[in-house]
Symmetry: D2
């Protein structure tokens, strides 16, 4: 149940309502949501309680979403959320193309990639400095030192920047140098981290866990929303199955399901989903046709020399060709590309 | 290794080559392939054997495909196969739309559906009479008695008809009344059945097993091809995963993989993949964008009254709308719809 | 709902009851079950119908199992079924050890294996002549010609024999030469085949489909039971998952679930589950500890020369050692080994 | 490659060897391992490099494990590791039974459970205060305030205590009040957390990720070992599959695989694996038969009132019965229970 308080509701009335709910063991949470105050609980008061709440009279409206992820649900908010990353909207009329290397390798490398993709229709730059790697012996990224490079290339290209964070302690510093924080597939249920990026109020790119159901994914988003951060963008990146021809199995049906059940934007990452360069294009097109709000593509000036995931990164030429192929497709489904 | 014999090669020379391969324990198989004779083995002769083969001189060409499914491979045949079902091509410039009810329920029901979908751009009619059902208590289809209904509606509508067969003994009778035989997901590795539909030389629609890798699927196709039946159409219909929001998880990356590795056409069945009516449209569009040669859609004049799979069948109105949405998309990817 | 008819119930009364159920659209099935007649439907009559049924008075008892596989359920039969294969009981106080090669390769090979495993505590011999192979180029088994070898070795060793059948047409001939018919993992939902082995009344070893839920597996067993064949033995052999360290993932929790929900015996096949010789022993022990009624082990006098599955077959020495390790374990869980 | 330095090797010689490896771009890591110094890299020097290393002469031995998780491998350490948690060994002759509630709910609750399970053969107490929950609306545990309760009950019962940590910042405080830190399934690839518990040098219980391969799991363990913390205990707790009869699918073949490939102890958690009380016993027995070094069981004095996972927690009576059933089984496999 979500109680949206009237704008003028007094702190005393709010506290009275909270007391009422606490005494009924409903464990209410207070959320500052845009300009409003919300009281949220996943349990429902009895009819007496509802009557008492009505008497206190703080509620502009009361919603009972059927989705477990209440704040994410269309029941709570009918209109699609458009998340603004600096001046770049995600979720509106245009497709958002986010491109960049898997890992930030050097300033020159990042700058070259950023300037190139900027010209080709990209809206945002991606680049990892904290790299979650299966083996401790693999390249772990430049770490904190790589963050200023991201900020520098952002200034040079004008492209907002998204980067992955792995632990709550690094949220502040990453927020200082970048414009959007990514929660990777391995951290989708890293709840302290979800709370930390929630508190940061920064735009968050929440990737689906590789073995997470859509329902669990939306509940992970709810952790962020419940901190009063409405700037959540979901990203489907493939799930783990028995099939080994691709790195993961891209579950595109997640796109229309998320669009129907929630008001949040959803992107698709065909690079990590397939792990194979030659499949990135077809799957990017399929994602757009399925209704995705944008795509996330790994691009590298020299993929064969990449320090991580070299098999799945597109060269600049391949990327340019893909964007040209996407333009007419985007138009047919009523979207444009910058 | 595939040895394609010269057109004028004498039976004696062929026999000599076979003897040579048999003595070398290479277990050669003879395949009548269109107008040609092939000798196929999955092992490779040594250099002496190759020299002896060359001396016999029957080979127009010798191919060593890297794919295990040798006859299915692009190494063996570069040009895409176009399977003709009566006058309907599958795999060419146009998208093939196959529509119809999950089960044939009655003559009126089938006729109504057939005539309606015919007007909307459908190329072929589907309808099951032998229904594989998880429970023995569920409706098992009309059985053999339903076959003449399929033939009758085909005559009335001009639409070629595809139906599923479950056992070798029914292949002949199904072939008599219909135009294409479907091997369902549960029978993808029913090898006697694959051989039987292979021997029939009928067009075959081979659905992917719900837990089959793409590699296994192509080897199942190879069982059919190896009987000298080149008329194989693949159909992706979702695989089984942990996700329960959909009946199966549609693996659209199978489309570009199959197109690259083989010369066989591939369709997509979003109805069985998702099991949810509202997802059929988005996934059909995604399939077309990913490069599928057509789609297979369950349509029912009154889905809520269907005797099987009522949740996933589109009404005629929904189907009409979907086809209209697909037309411009098909054009963008260089395909048309009848 | 299962109606068990009284022993003396007249054919007319039975027919009257059936008519009643048919008119109510309950689609009743008549099953000859041991000495009794059953009427089974998966729908439930209304109270009027129940009253009318009571009036006809044919029912010894009426059962409403909660399990979809009604005849398999403990609700229908409390006591565990003991399936007798010749004189070998499966499901009683003793563990049943079934051993033998993956494929029958020759008479000498089979005879040597049979005589060796007989001395070591084995109760039954396994050996495949119809081999379901992923690739059409792989060894497909000796086929029908291998059946007399099985019968011959049975006579020589006194061990009953189980072999796999792949299609309804071969059920009769396989039944003639062997004592138990195996339905392999790929055919668990080959419904015509299930019905055919059901009609044969032979003991049936029903392996779990590699992507089948336990619920689906029990419904497959129900297809056989519903033909009036109560001699069904289940066999867990691993399911398909993302893990590639083993060929399949052995789901031992299926054992206690099956034992609780049904009256059918259940064996475990650690050879196919793991695909790795060194894991067969630990998993066989785990199966016995979990409550399995027996195990199915692939044994080959010279595993490294086996024509199929050579990595998972135990040598005779390894098999002997395993049986010795199993004996005290079997005792602890209240079972013996022959 | 692991270079184990001689005891008397000088810091200068070590530095020289490191320099050599760094110049060859081999990215060497220095690990303080028990009383020794190790230099570890996952790349291999060329023959010239190896000769130069030999010349420096610091190596007691050089090992080239085939396993990616080099420090975990049997190649590096033949003898099984016995991890001591206070005075409780894990990995030796005795089975280690760890029991306790899912969540710590109150001091009385924990004390009652601890005293009860102590009498029944339990070696250690488990209890969660930081609870990772799918929904933000679910009970999140007592948090830091619960830690002193764990310490208090440890003193009262003499049982060492294990508790889960979710973020690096809480490692120190958890280490202060407990004896072993658990990394839960959702955090198996939370690399900053793995490094933090590694640095703590505390015994660590590393659960398998619910979609992690065994190979990935061992590489996660390697993150901890590489911090110079050899006190790692693995715990199999089920993986995610299509089967929904159980919460997860317990992969017991992981036990013999881990025992063969590594020197680390491995426990099994049948409570989380099955999620069903009636399956905990059979799966605990199967785990012991498969060779596990112990089991982790959720126990609650009143399971039906538990604040989390009430379906899978055993009552004290059920737990007592299980332990009695395990004793003779443990003996047969050469283990005892305290």
């Amino acid at each position: 149940m979500i109680i949206e308080a009237r704008k003028g509701a007094s702190p005393e009335a709010l506290e009275e309502a909270l007391d009422l709910l606490r005494r009924a063991d409903l464990d209410p949470k207070v959320v500052a949501w845009n300009e409003r105050t919300l009281i949220v609980t996943d349990r429902k008061p009895g009819s007496v309680g509802l009557a008492q709440l009505a008497e206190i009279g703080i509620a502009e409206r009361m919603v009972h979403p059927t989705l477990k992820a209440q704040l994410a649900s269309r029941d709570f908010q009918v209109d699609p959320t458009v998340v603004k990353v600096r001046d770049v909207p995600i979720g509106g009329d245009r497709l958002t193309i986010i491109a960049g290397p898997c890992s930030v390798e050097s300033r020159e490398h990042l700058l070259e990639t950023g300037q190139a993709v900027r010209k080709l229709g990209t809206s945002m730059l991606r680049g990892g400095v904290f790299k979650p790697r299966t083996s401790p012996y693999e390249f772990q990224g430049l770490g904190e030192e790589g963050l200023p490079l991201l900020a520098e290339v952002r200034e040079a290209t004008g492209l907002p920047v998204v980067t992955e964070v792995l632990e709550p302690e690094k949220v502040d510093v990453a927020a200082k140098y970048t414009d959007m924080l990514q929660i990777g597939t391995r951290n989708m249920q890293n709840f302290p981290l979800l709370k930390a990026v929630g508190r940061s109020k920064m735009p968050v790119l929440l990737k689906r866990g590789m073995a997470a159901t859509i329902e669990e994914w939306l509940q992970a988003a709810e952790y962020i929303l419940l901190e009063g951060n409405p700037n959540v963008v979901l990203c489907e990146r493939g799930v783990r199955t028995f099939e080994k021809a691709t790195r993961n199995t891209l579950d595109l049906s997640a796109v229309p399901i998320v669009k129907r059940q929630t008001h949040l934007p959803i992107l698709v990452d065909p690079s990590h989903a397939t792990g194979r360069r030659e499949l990135v294009g077809p799957m990017a097109k399929a994602a757009v046709a399925a209704g995705a709000d944008g795509i996330l593509i790994e691009v590298h000036p020299k993929p064969e020399l990449a320090l991580s995931d070299s098999n799945q990164q597109l060269s600049l030429e391949e990327f340019a060709r893909l964007i040209e192929e996407l333009r007419p497709l985007a138009e047919v489904v009523g979207r444009g590309i910058r």
